[in-house]
Symmetry: C2
Subunit: 333 residues, 2 copies
């Protein structure tokens, strides 16, 4: 494969002039530039990015580490992050962690090996105990809950307030026996703990007694988990007329599970989700949910990261919480 030196020789200029043309530096005579471009074309030359990265000390690439690449929520968030980063001249490499602590740590290491100029890490497996490990000089933005107060910029969803609104909405629609389908991680700042707290507070505020028989925990929060949770609720025999779901994916599974048991939504049971994934608009019935403003998450994450990459003297880590809105659809009509 042709190198920059080959191009220089063919064009009768120095390697540095070729480099200047490649990097669109202004001080190159038009005629020289033409000669160089012609040589590049004729030789089919492509810059070797490994060499460029080594010398330049940057890759113009940011990493985005997510639990799963096939989750609608993260796919749709990734799509927005890619768009924002692209506008700023960065490419995005998506990395799968499987929500595993070790993999999340190794995503951080990947950045430290200079693969990425910075990292957006969706932290699920990391716990509050891992905070100190984030004390690194790599530009990083963490999405998630457990990292509040860690020494990095952090963006949280409106977990407690959002689920409060979702639960209150069910009460306003007349529900009195409201179940919740959630995760199994009960640690202090887990998504499940925070969203459960919003659910409990809403019930308490409306004078409704909580019933542990209506709390269903699932490990992985897949669509299948949602379905089996619905089966468990129905088969368990405790009366219920509303279900708060910890994610839209779980909610879509719950809709399916209720249909399996011949219950109609919203006629027999009302259901509300969280995330406002695209699919929530198209399910039958369409799904009432909390829209946590993914556009804002993407914009904020990229802006914060690029600021850190650019270097920010006197920078202090900040915790951000995005806004939300309740989107009312057929499942609670």
């Amino acid at each position: 494969m042709a190198t920059l030196h080959d191009v220089a020789r063919a064009a009768g200029v120095s390697p540095m002039t070729v480099s200047n043309v490649l990097n669109k530096h202004p001080h190159v005579r038009a005629e020289t530039r033409e000669r160089v471009l012609k040589a590049i074309d004729e030789l089919g030359y492509r810059v070797n990015v490994a060499a460029r990265n080594l010398r330049a000390g940057r890759t113009d690439t940011i990493g985005f580490a997510v639990p799963e690449v096939d989750s609608p929520y993260f796919g749709q968030l990734a799509s927005r992050i890619i768009a924002k980063a692209h506008d700023a001249g960065y490419r995005v490499a998506i990395e799968r962690t499987g929500a595993d602590r070790e993999n999340e740590l190794s995503a951080i290491t990947s950045s430290r090996t200079r693969m990425y100029d910075g990292l957006i890490l969706s932290a699920v497996g990391l716990g509050t105990a891992d905070r100190e490990l984030l004390n690194t000089d790599v530009p990083m933005v963490v999405l998630g809950e457990s990292m509040a107060d860690a020494p990095v910029d952090h963006i949280a969803l409106p977990n407690e307030a959002g689920t409060y609104a979702a639960t209150a909405h069910l009460v306003d629609r007349g529900c009195r026996r409201i179940a919740i389908v959630q995760g199994e991680d009960q640690s202090r700042l887990s998504v499940t703990s925070l969203r459960h707290a919003g659910y409990r507070r809403a019930l308490a505020d409306r004078g409704i007694e909580a019933d542990d028989a209506l709390v269903i925990g699932r490990r992985h929060l897949s669509i299948e988990d949602g379905r089996s949770a619905a089966h468990e609720l129905v088969d368990g025999g405790a009366a219920f007329d509303g279900v708060v779901c910890i994610t839209d994916t779980v909610a879509l599974g719950v809709l399916r599970g209720l249909a399996d048991r011949g219950l109609s939504v919203p006629g027999d049971v009302r259901v509300v989700g969280f995330d406002d994934i695209l699919e929530a608009r198209y399910s039958v019935p369409s799904l009432t949910t909390i829209d946590p403003d993914r556009d804002e998450v993407a914009r904020l994450a990229v802006d914060l990261l690029l600021t850190r990459i650019a270097g920010s003297p006197g920078w202090q880590p900040h915790d951000h919480v995005t806004g939300f809105r309740l989107v009312e659809r057929e499942s609670t009509a």
Copy 2:
């Protein structure tokens, strides 16, 4: 940041010995290895991958270029490809092309810039006219139709046969007025052309006359396109009792669109999709579809690519077509 030389100095060995430890070469005395590992740990040393890539001439990374990162089909395929590649010691960088010809070509260029050791390209925007551009020395596997007979390994889905089976299934269920919702690209080897051909052939074989009023084209094949296509069908007034959808995503939109118009599935209309995305199992009603064996696509794509990367004297490009099976669910019950 500490370099390999810093580690060497701290451990009192040569840089090359550190490199040998790093790369797990066998001929290092246990005691020396310990000293080096200790120094690595103390200095918090991480290898600089840009330097390693430059020197080694490889990145241990393969690219996977997809039209959209937030499509269930590609997300679920990517997940499988990541797993296969990981087993072989490769990481996967997912790149979005937006189904745009220019972006697909630039994904190829990315590989030629040595960012990736090889590329799996899901070609949608590239046409048959671009075949020659694929005549490159970069290891590459193309997924899609339009690249048949191009000078690269190529994996096609069972488009014609799969849609034939889907259409025949509707006929067997009693449908006689069968619509199709497809794309707008009528070029010879487009997905739409191939799947449409399967639809037509099945109708012909069963002695059913095709009706152009039942062919609905949509540009982007999003879930919203599926919904609006269903509206167009119903509002157009032509009778129909079955719908063949070019993808499951379109089919989920069609289910929603039919629900909007008060039609029941499968009571009034039967619907069949293509892809067997996970969501097809959970929609209400669940979706009958063609499972094109994504596991085989992923396995084959990675195997072929790694073979090309390893170097294969006398290699000749091959076209592969994966198998399929019809998955019967509620939408055609």
